[in-house]
Symmetry: C2
Subunit: 382 residues, 2 copies
């Protein structure tokens, strides 16, 4: 396999983008990425999107976006794996370059979520319709069950759980693309609306419009385009049961553990080698469970460790320097690509006030459903 580099990135503002259609969002991020990589033509294109059919009544996104960004003719497909669609699209782009099939590959993710009334119904299509959703449960309820069991088993308090979104909003203040770039305090979290006990509104990632793109090429060609590039050191992916009742333990996410192990093995690295990680904090409890599955903290300890400041600057590892899904926003298909964008910016020293100093290895972890799919990338500064 050839080594693969990232040579350019692009993001739209995350938020309620009423004046942009799904194609406008993608094009803005794609053209920014192509400009940053100083290229005008790509060889192949991937679009991660969870549910453009239900959110925008538009399938066939690969070709639509290829056309709209001036690349008509190139092979182009959409990749879907619920909320991990973006990260999986990057994985497909990686395979495309690694195999030797194509050199310059545009990978983007996009979701236009604000144009439908019942976004929660659409998101629930990532769960098992026949066995879960028809019985009335949606994602806040599923993650609430994880939180309830974890808090009971490990003695995590409601106040400690609140420190996850508080920390992520603190990071998000320094992200100009974030949907909610402001701090929140304990009182705000604890007094926000109850969504699914014990999860309150400020434990939940928001509904977001947005897009993110990256440009990949063979590592050996990266210098032709830019001196700001990173290497994709490893990728690991795994499936898990999409039906939550098939999880063997309600506080464990087997697909995350498996994807992480595969990435560490491919990279020849360990958790202690990683300087920062972008994790899929769709709900505050998710960040805690994921941080444990990826080996950054022992089982049952991540909640308290995050509350004690071990997951921010100066701690054991910086988790979600971008602000995470909570503060940055969660346009589902775009999220996995946006995580890679953040890792690229950090590893090329372009992260501004949220820069993690001397970062050499960055990890991204993108997840679908209640742990039904996961893809982990490890990026290396060059």
């Amino acid at each position: 396999m050839r080594d693969v580099a990232i040579i350019g990135v692009g993001l739209t503002q995350f938020g309620e983008n009423w004046d942009q259609s799904i194609r406008d969002l993608f094009a803005e991020a794609a053209l920014k990425a192509m400009e940053s990589a100083k290229i005008e033509k790509v060889d192949s294109l991937y679009v991660g999107s969870m549910s453009s059919g239900l959110y925008a009544y538009q399938e066939h996104l690969g070709s639509l976006m290829a056309d709209y960004v001036g690349q008509i003719g190139v092979p182009a497909v959409r990749i879907e794996s619920a909320c991990s669609s973006g990260g999986q699209a990057v994985r497909m782009g990686f395979l495309d370059v690694a195999s030797g099939m194509h050199d310059i590959v545009l990978v983007g993710g996009v979701e236009k979520m604000w144009d439908v009334e019942d976004g929660t119904f659409v998101l629930a299509t990532a769960a098992d319709q026949e066995y879960e959703v028809y019985n009335g449960v949606t994602f806040p309820g599923l993650y609430a069950m994880m939180a309830r069991v974890y808090m009971e088993r490990y003695g995590l308090t409601r106040e400690e759980l609140a420190q996850v979104p508080i920390k992520n909003h603190k990071h998000g203040v320094n992200n100009p693309y974030a949907q909610f770039p402001f701090e929140i305090d304990l009182k705000a979290v604890l007094s926000s609306s109850m969504v699914a006990d014990p999860l309150r509104l400020l434990d939940c990632s928001p509904i977001t419009d947005g897009a993110a793109c990256v440009i990949l090429c063979p590592l050996e060609r990266a210098k032709e385009f830019t001196d700001k590039f990173v290497k994709i050191r490893a990728v690991g992916s795994a499936s898990g049961p999409i039906a939550f009742h098939d999880h063997k333990d309600l506080t464990r996410l087997d697909a995350v553990k498996l994807a992480g192990e595969r990435a560490y093995k491919m990279a020849g690295l360990k958790p202690e080698d990683i300087d920062f990680v972008e994790v899929h904090d769709c709900f505050s409890i998710a960040e805690i469970l994921v941080a444990e599955e990826l080996g950054f903290f022992d089982y049952g300890t991540a909640g308290k460790a995050i509350a004690e400041g071990q997951a921010t600057y100066g701690g054991k590892i910086v988790i979600n320097p971008s602000g995470g899904l909570k503060a940055k926003g969660h346009p589902v298909g775009a999220t996995g690509v946006a995580q890679i964008v953040e890792a690229y910016l950090q590893l090329t020293g372009q992260a501004g006030k949220r820069q993690v100093s001397n970062a050499r290895f960055g990890m991204t972890q993108n997840m679908g459903g209640s742990g039904g799919s996961c893809v982990v990338h490890i990026l290396e500064a060059m």
Copy 2:
């Protein structure tokens, strides 16, 4: 890149499968494919499906199917490119094996179309919603325009056009998995309901439930599993404008030409080397246009050539020995994989009464929308 083989295939009956859900369909085809390849475990999984969100209110198909066929844990994603989703999924599986990332890859396609009332609305999400569909056009209308221009320009008669579905139904009689395994005559075509002038009901592929799967592995390992395997000699893919009004010529399908050229180049072959081809005859005119873009007939001549018997056994090339989308059925996400299944059966001498004798090279051509995407595979007998 490593050479890639197909070592097993599986199909469900195509038709109105009221007693099977989308997961049942996929599992039946997948387990048949695994049984035929004599394997119990795969390393990676791809699912082609156009619109499981709108047809079955279920996204996240990669992990769902991995779980349902006993392969939980493997990397699994869904690939979407409208009606070429299945063929594109095979392309992704090919890259996965060719790159060296995984050895045993299950690729399937599935669509469960009969469970919703307005299937035509769902199919129209493969066209440009904002510029085409909102103005009232759906696919029968788009292909009717192609037919009208072609007939006017090249003098093709309505009776000659009817010979495409008549020929495909004749082939389909010998396909035990076909939705409509019976012959139709000229009178039946010309007296069937008008759908979009000049296209009548029997010019149109049907609404179909179904699934198809193949197992890929490195060519050098194929003999470990079976003596019935074929080589994927080449794959070519291209995007085109998904909005029909952006086609430069209404009788041309640029993405098909480009995908075909790429496949021929990769294979080092020419149209005259191909013994049979499965083409995407979503409407009768489509088979004619595609046969020209792939170089089997000169522009403007394929309609008459097919009417004269040049595309059946004993002619210049056998087009759609399976019965094509028209007689076999068109479960959109499954179609591209089912084409590969047919080519595998032909090239391993397992096609029964529809066997193309002495076939060495078989081609498949799978298309999205009104030519918005295309993927072409060339398979070689071993």
